[in-house]
């Protein structure tokens, strides 16, 4: 276990340090998220009273596309500067490499979402201080990060990675998006934990499946 946790934390430390120096990922994703809410806010001015109803859909549309932006960059720096090759010839297991990159992506996405959520809540008029909503966002983002890391590793080896990633990512992550929107609608509507019904466990099941399958496939993806 220690052989897995140590390298994962080292990789996360390195990626956070690089992001602090370049700020190219978090800032661009944050700006994109803000633009989305501004655009939707103007669009929904014509439909007063429906903002709360539409908020979860808008929220997850923004989060999903923001995830694509973030995942597009997940392996680019490693690929361009040879860091991925450095990792692959180090005695770190492929599982640890995958989980390290997925954890980094999860942290970056959660940071951006934490910054965006209050803005969305104010503009779309819903309460962001809901445990159920925050849990839904965490589980949905976990699914995005795990699937996105795998497809980012695939896409970075192709010439048209910006196109390839969404084409691969969205069909696989669709059940998580649907379940997250449904669970968020109920959470925003003030439903209790039980009221979220099957949607939250469904996201959990998909996350667990992704966490088992994706690291296994990743080992084949990075093999030459």
């Amino acid at each position: 276990m220690n052989g897995l946790v140590g390298p994962i934390l080292v990789m996360v430390w390195k990626d956070i340090l690089l992001e602090l120096r370049s700020r190219d990922l978090v800032v661009s994703v944050l700006v994109f998220g803000l633009l989305v809410v501004v655009v939707f806010n103007f669009a929904l001015n014509n439909a007063p009273g429906r903002a709360e109803e539409l908020a979860p859909g808008i929220l997850w549309t923004a989060f999903a596309f923001a995830a694509i932006l973030a995942m597009n960059r997940a392996f680019v720096r490693d690929q361009e500067q040879g860091g991925l090759e450095g990792l692959l010839i180090s005695p770190v297991s492929r599982d640890a490499i995958f989980l390290g990159k997925a954890l980094t992506s999860l942290i970056f996405m959660l940071l951006v979402e934490a910054a965006l959520l209050p803005v969305y809540a104010v503009m779309l008029d819903f309460s962001a201080l809901s445990f159920n909503l925050i849990l839904t966002i965490f589980l949905g983002t976990l699914g995005f990060a795990v699937v996105g890391t795998l497809f980012s590793a695939m896409a970075v080896q192709t010439r048209s990675r910006e196109i390839m990633l969404p084409v691969l990512f969205f069909p696989v992550v669709l059940p998580v998006i649907i379940a997250a929107v449904e669970a968020s609608t109920r959470a925003v509507g003030g439903e209790t934990f039980v009221g979220l019904g099957r949607w939250l466990p469904l996201i959990g099941v998909f996350d667990a499946l992704f966490l088992v399958i994706c690291p296994w496939i990743f080992a084949f993806v990075v093999e030459e």
Binding site: G6, L17, G82, E85, L87, I89, S90, P91
Partner: protein
């Protein structure tokens, strides 16, 4: 061992062993498979057939043990531009599970004469300095086997001299080096064995004897090695 890329065979019928405490220098024309061979030994590329062991560990069954015992210097530094030399080395030191990595990082930086640039970002270093930092990365965890792909490329005379001293110390301590180069003089002065990669396999002009025009067998001595290597390079892949 055999390796092809699609229908294009690169290495075939290759049989090779490197004793402890020796440097094997590989020469070969462009496309002969030198880099592919090193990438296979570095566990980065999987061979199609055959069995390979590094420091007694099978590449296929125990790749992580092999990776722990090799240090690699390739065409790229494998360092992050926005991290300093020290941060890069600390990062790799932790990945390799070095217990007390700080003094070791200082030690290798001193070995490659980069102590005064230790806290500079890699992107601010010259190509030669980046290569020296890459060498520091490769020797950081004191691997049993060093794999060097044209390590002299981009290095000035002083850096080449530092690398030569380092490799001599490396083999004197019983560890092995496999390196490729296009520099005949350098390769022959550093290597205990010189091999030419041609036709998918490694030929050792110095280990075998060759027939001269009269059919008399002679050992290929220094000048003979030089000629054999030059001939092989001229003949191409």
């Amino acid at each position: 061992m055999e390796k092809s890329f699609s229908e294009w065979p690169v290495l075939w019928d290759l049989d090779l062993s490197v004793p402890w405490g020796q440097t094997l220098v590989l020469f070969g024309a462009n496309g002969a498979g030198k880099t592919t061979l090193l990438r296979i030994l570095a566990t980065h590329v999987r061979p199609d057939h055959g069995s390979i062991a590094v420091a007694g560990h099978n590449l296929r069954t125990r790749p992580e043990e092999v990776r722990r015992r090799i240090g690699v210097v390739g065409h790229r530094s494998l360092l992050y531009d926005d991290l300093t030399c020290r941060e890069n080395l600390v990062y790799y030191g932790r990945l390799y599970g070095l217990k007390d990595h700080k003094p070791r990082v200082d030690e290798v930086l001193e070995q490659v004469r980069l102590s005064n640039r230790a806290d500079h970002r890699v992107r601010t270093l010259s190509n030669g300095m980046q290569k020296r930092a890459a060498i520091a990365r490769a020797i950081l965890h004191q691997p049993d086997v060093l794999l060097l792909d044209e390590p002299e490329a981009g290095l000035d005379m002083e850096s080449v001299s530092i690398l030569g001293t380092l490799l001599a110390e490396w083999t004197d301590s019983g560890r092995s080096v496999v390196m490729t180069t296009h520099d005949l003089d350098l390769g022959l002065s550093w290597g205990h064995q010189a091999g030419v990669l041609r036709g998918g396999k490694v030929n050792f002009p110095d280990a075998n004897s060759v027939d001269d025009e009269d059919g008399i067998k002679n050992d290929v001595r220094a000048s003979g090695i030089r000629r054999a290597v030059a001939d092989a390079l001229q003949a191409g892949r």
